[in-house]
Symmetry: C2
DNA sequence: CATATAGGCAACCAAATGGTTGCGTGTCAA
DNA sequence: TTGACACGCAACCATTTGGTTGCCTATATG
C-alpha cells in the first residue's frame, strides 16, 4: 500500500465528503455523487481519480455508468500500521509531556 | 479537534517523518530534528508549526531551546471517530464490491 | 438514425504548498 | 561584554493543487 497516496487523498475535505457519501450509499455513479456538491462534475471526477489511485475507491463499469465503491482496506492499513504505533505509548507520551511542562514551569 | 488540520498535517511525508523521529525520541529541539534531514532549519520549523497547529506536537520552551513533544490524542481522535466508521462495515463493503464486480462480469 | 445522457480528456488559472535565503532576537558562556 | 548558538520572521520562488471551461466519446432510447 502507498501510505503517501492514501494520506494525501484523505487530506482534502471534499474527498473525505465523497467517502462519507459512499459510506452512506455505496456504488454511486459520478452523476449521483455530484448532486448538491457545489462543484463541477469534472472537479468531482478528478477527486474520484485521486481516491481510486489511493485505492480508497474501486469502480465497476456498467454500461455507460461507472459505479464507485468505497474500499476500507487502506484506511485499515493506516490505522493498524501507523496510528496504533502512537496509541501504544500514548500514556507514556502524555506523562512525558506533562513532566516537561512542569519542569518548564519551574524555570 | 480540527479534523482538517490534522489530516493536512499528516498528508506530508516530511511531517510524518518528524513525528516518527519524535516517536523514537521525544522532546527534541528544532536543531536536533534538523540533523540529517536534507532540509533547511527554517523548512523544518515551518513543518513543526503546522504540526503544532494541528495539535500533533506540543512544545515547551527551556532557555533558548524549544523542546517538541508528540501528542497522540488527535491521531486517536481520527482513528476512533473517522476511521473506525469504515472498519465497522468493512466486510459488508467488500462483499458489495465483489457482487458488483460479478454483475459487471456478466454484462 | 437522431438525440439525450454519462462520462473522459485537455488546456488553463488562481491559490496553496514546500522550500529557499537573509536577517533579527533572545539566551548562554568565556 | 562579546561572541556563539538556538530560534523566529519575512520576502521570495517553483511546483502542486483544486477548480474551471470547452470539447470529445460512448451508451442508451425515441
Amino acid at each position: 500500500m502507498d501510505d503517501d497516496a492514501v494520506f494525501k487523498a484523505l487530506a482534502d475535505a471534499s474527498r473525505r465528503q465523497l467517502l462519507d457519501r459512499l459510506y452512506e450509499r455505496n456504488g454511486q455513479t459520478l452523476g449521483a455523487l455530484c448532486a448538491d456538491l457545489d462543484m463541477t462534475r469534472q472537479a468531482v471526477a478528478k477527486h474520484l481519480v485521486i481516491l481510486e489511485e489511493a485505492n480508497l475507491v474501486s469502480t465497476a463499469r456498467q454500461g455507460r455508468e461507472k459505479l464507485h465503491f468505497i474500499n476500507p482496506v487502506p484506511i485499515n492499513g493506516i490505522a493498524e500500521r501507523w496510528i496504533n504505533k502512537f496509541e501504544q505509548r500514548q500514556l507514556g507520551m502524555l506523562s512525558a509531556l506533562k513532566k516537561a511542562l512542569e519542569d518548564e514551569g519551574d524555570a
